[in-house]
Symmetry: C4
Subunit: 224 residues, 4 copies
């Protein structure tokens, strides 16, 4: 299968998953609308749902960056085979689940205390989903790197070690965040947000406009 | 109509339908958030919703594999006519409905007992939706195979009997699973999951990278 | 703007809107899951929600056929200007709203009786949304037909009168259905379903594979 | 990255976000379906939810016009780099959130009175989200304009001052609307609707069919 089509389906899934995050905000609106059972809508009452806004921002950035890196990863090849598609499906299964731990964190972040408090259970669940997704990314990446030739790679990956290191660093970040979530759920959520920012800056090699231009130039002159 | 546009709309529907599955998980978050009426959020309480996670995984794999096979099926032709589009619409009507029996199974799988227990009603409903979808696939496939010429088939299907057999085997699996759901809903759900794995491996003929390459090579040399 | 991009956005909206219909089924699952307040899940209890299944099928076919005709309409031109985009937006505003009257019908179809019963209010609302959408289609179609030249029409529409007649017939059907909804909501819903089937068969001119082939052939030979 | 792919992901997000608006209408259907707790479904009862319909129309037009202008903005360039993608992500984060203040307005618009009434809190929240989105648009636009060369701009923007003025006018409109929301939430919502209509007519330069034709003509003759 042409890799573009697999990407196009994945793009659709990413776009829907990132938009589903707004349902956590809609449930706030729901809670404020049942007159009588809740206090009237005031700025203070809306502010009281700050964990939901924080969780929305962190998860939105995370899914957004994951989309970017998903594209970077698949732009390395021109074709995909069945194993890639199946691994990609497992990866998407993790990404689509993100709104679930996001909702848990949004609902329980203020209920923190000892280990095992609702807030830490929620934040640990969040971290575990992220770790599962990281493993998914690593699996697809390792498979793509190992089958570059067969999948019509656009260019050889020259620095596999460095990019592996970067991936490992990010994954270690999610593991550390999950452990920290046991004692300080808010700190953990901030770490997850910072990891998204980290992945914004650091990423898979060879994706700047310059290198694309270089590749196109070399293709035009017949050099690989 | 160019078959790519029909596929692109179908892709969108598949992408949204697969993402809607997360709403079954969000309803878990909902149940844990209504403080007072439910026990506090603990790991054990989250674990207690295992049927929802199992149903999520089974349905996600199922829709994902259905997307793959949908693509394989439509990649055989270059054009689609009205009857194909209408049949495809009926097929999508079944696929979009999948989150419904998934939710039933997620909510009732632990309430099993005699035939007619909520768990068996839920699992039988799941199986019936799968059987309807299987019939939808068979209809589209039979129509496409019968009108290969008119729809600009990329290559003649050389082994219609074998692929028919494979389809029949899969469909028989769903019928068997539905019957088993009467007495053992959990076993049935596992069978539905294994059928998704089966369709991951076994599939319509001629879709490997090698055969595509062969087709392209023969096209390049002017042979049909 | 290239008409393909406007179509691609519209396709996305159609794909999401058609999938949102499953939420009416998910709310059935919700109602069966709150143990204690409702009877246990049985086949009979599930069957009791037949208006929801009927409404799902009618609305799914309706949105699906509207997608087909939307494509047929926009495939006549190669470019779109601002007025087309704004008219198209108004049309989509009606289509996205379809799940709302669908939910009303699903919830109230069994509560019928005299004029003004919940069932007739629901079915009339359904019909009014359909009439608004029909007007939207007519507006886009009239605008496209009037600006064929400027929008780079692929081929001149040779039978504007006939197609206008067909449109009018369909619209009259929705008006008639809405009036019938006042006294017999179930009959009205069946009429809305039959109108979808009617639009499946009868449609805008020149969209068969044969005519496409003819156009391509004439383009290849340099004839307009 | 090719700008088309970034647009295609953004299109998906816009399409889902605009369709999520129907969930505010679905929650009306929900409220009418819980027999016993609410009055029976009548035309008057449905009419009583007019703020939800008004909010639906205003937000639908707003997201729709934002989609149009997003396209216009990105059609100016052929490539996008990391900073553009990150800014675009922040912009989308605001757009995806629109259904949230829409729901607040739908639920509370009739509860107006003094400053700080639920209606004014809802309408001010709506306005603040719009202001954040306006800032997002301005950021992307300023970045694109500053890096036209590097991003492979299709044509030089000749009237940056005028377009900046138009943007500023629109943004000032959202600020004014937000201030008015403090005292008259209904007026504010109407202003937000009129701003959408304003953006329908007034927009970024050089997007008419004529100018596209001119550019293509000049490209064909080798002039930049």
């Amino acid at each position: 299968m042409d890799s573009r089509r697999a990407e196009s389906f994945s793009d659709g899934v990413f776009a829907v998953a990132i938009t589903v995050l707004v349902f956590n905000l809609l449930s706030i609106a729901d809670q404020t609308s049942t007159a009588g059972r809740h206090p009237a809508l005031t700025a203070a009452y809306l502010g009281h749902f700050w964990p939901a806004y924080l969780a929305y921002v962190v998860s939105f950035l995370t899914i957004g960056i994951m989309w970017l890196n998903h594209h970077t990863m698949f732009s390395q090849v021109t074709k995909v085979d069945r194993p890639v598609l199946v691994l990609n499906l497992l990866l998407l299964m993790g990404i689509v689940a993100i709104p679930f731990p996001t909702a848990l964190v949004a609902d329980h972040l203020t209920a923190h205390g000892a280990i095992g408090s609702p807030a830490s259970v929620a934040a640990v669940t969040y971290g575990l989903v992220m770790i599962v997704i990281s493993i998914g990314y690593a699996s697809v990446w390792i498979y793509l790197a190992a089958h570059q030739q067969a999948l019509g790679a656009r260019r050889r990956v020259h620095r596999p070690r460095l990019s592996t290191f970067r991936f490992t660093f990010g994954n270690a970040g999610y593991v550390a965040g999950t452990l920290i979530a046991l004692v300080s759920p808010v700190t953990a959520l901030i770490i997850f947000g910072l990891l998204a920012v980290y992945y914004m800056i650091e990423h898979l090699p060879s994706e700047s406009i310059e290198s694309d231009a270089a590749v196109e130039a070399s293709e035009a002159t017949g050099q690989s």
